[in-house]
Symmetry: C2
């Protein structure tokens, strides 16, 4: 059987989505990938819903011009605010990171008390609340969510083990611990980098990595593709050549990264390139 | 004598420039002001020089369509990277925040050892280094600079007195204290909000507030305008209605703030409005 050789498109507000791409590459070594990081307008997490939707639709349009067969919205904020819009506009599968993580959290919890941390925009959207309630159905589940906006800049500065990071993370998770959660959704692409610190602060809590859950769901949706020994082709695009991308990309992706290609999403777009 | 009744334009990457506007309003109560915060693309401090120049020129064009008589670039990053370009493109005075602060720092220092803190882009541009050296002339001055990218998100989260903020600020200023600075330039619009913490950590160091210095220079450049009893007209524009603007604007400006008007800088611009 010949399966679809077109690449999978992945976009994020910036560099964080590479933690999602990492799992996609690991689980689907037979696929090719096009990754777009909107580094010229990062972050999305403190912007309005209207602006996030505009940016997300521009990112999706860019990926479609690269003839992708599926779009993975790696950014939690964009998944929370723009997924329905993207699905209604495009006929290819559009996968977010929230529904898969919600499903995994409901499967994992024993106590029925789930914590969710994310950007202010993600938490305010109540998308996790809705997604977890949808999966849980009649099962009673208590959801405790907390916006943690300082964790992204701390990770981007590389302050992963710093005392200040531990202090801030403790401040954020204290009410979740007091609420007795046994499962915590890391509802932002940057947070898996802080998993060791968070696990230390919440030793008996299961951590849910959105990127891993989304990669599993993507794998279920697609026919296996590629011969054994296929080396995935990874095309990396950014909207700005920020210093952070180059210095952090390897940490986020877990492998060496080539220099990304800079593109513009605002202006007139050349068609049929790339 | 009849002086120029047109407003003064002020732009910033977001909300921070309100700390500059605060001093402009205080020192020039006879003037009207148009403020633009590019909240849809904030922050500028971790983006590339090319991108910051593009954004700054779009902000300046917007202000010129409002018939301003002078532009104050309230953002340190834009002042560092785009001031020369803006001056070469426009005939009205374009004032940045770096030169005025550099002059004040050289006037204040006794030991000749000056510290500068700012965003990564501001510090990497070496604009303060050049500006301070220009003012100092033959006088030997040692400049110790340090990027402090975590201070902006801490201020935006309102963590002004938090233990974590003190810990991070101490981490940042320790090498400056060890270098024996007696003057510290707060090279980012957000930092004056942290002045009490910074002064506590550096009790014998004079703090230089860029916004205050820029406002003094603007006042020197302009004819006094407006009758006594004039109530300054303040027009506030933003590129995104972010929650942060509304919640923090009053803190930054030091007075109650009306709801800002949202505008777009990317697309086609209506001419002659506002």
């Amino acid at each position: 059987m010949h399966s679809d050789p077109r690449p999978i498109g992945v976009f994020d507000s910036g560099i964080g989505g590479l933690t999602v791409l990492r799992h996609l590459l690991r689980l689907m070594p037979g696929e090719d990938f096009v990754y777009l990081g909107d580094t010229a307008r990062v972050p999305y997490g403190n912007k309005s819903a209207e602006t996030v939707r505009l940016y997300a639709s521009q990112c999706a349009d860019f990926l479609l011009r690269h003839d992708v067969k599926m779009i993975v919205v790696a950014c939690n904020t964009a998944s929370a605010l723009a997924l329905d819009m993207l699905r209604s506009h495009h006929s290819i599968p559009v996968l977010g990171v929230i529904e898969p993580a919600a499903g995994e959290a409901v499967r994992l919890t024993r106590s029925g008390s789930i914590g969710v941390i994310g950007t202010r925009a993600t938490i305010n959207s109540e998308s996790y609340l809705k997604a977890i309630s949808d999966v849980a159905g009649d099962r009673p589940i208590a959801i405790h969510s907390r916006p943690c906006p300082l964790l992204v800049p701390l990770v981007e500065e590389g302050w992963v083990d710093a005392p200040a990071t531990r202090l801030i993370a403790e401040e954020y998770v204290r009410p979740l611990r007091q609420a007795g959660i046994d499962t915590l959704v890391l509802g932002c692409t940057h947070y898996p980098i802080l998993a060791p610190v968070l696990q230390d602060l919440l030793p008996n809590v299961a951590l849910v990595d959105c990127g891993e859950c989304a990669a599993h769901q993507a794998m279920q949706l697609l026919e296996p593709h590629g011969e054994s020994g296929h080396v995935p082709r990874l095309s990396l695009y950014v909207t700005d050549n920020t210093p952070a991308f180059t210095s952090l990309a390897s940490t986020f992706l877990g492998r060496r990264v080539d220099e990304p290609v800079r593109v513009s999403l605002d202006g007139p777009q050349p068609v049929g390139r790339g």
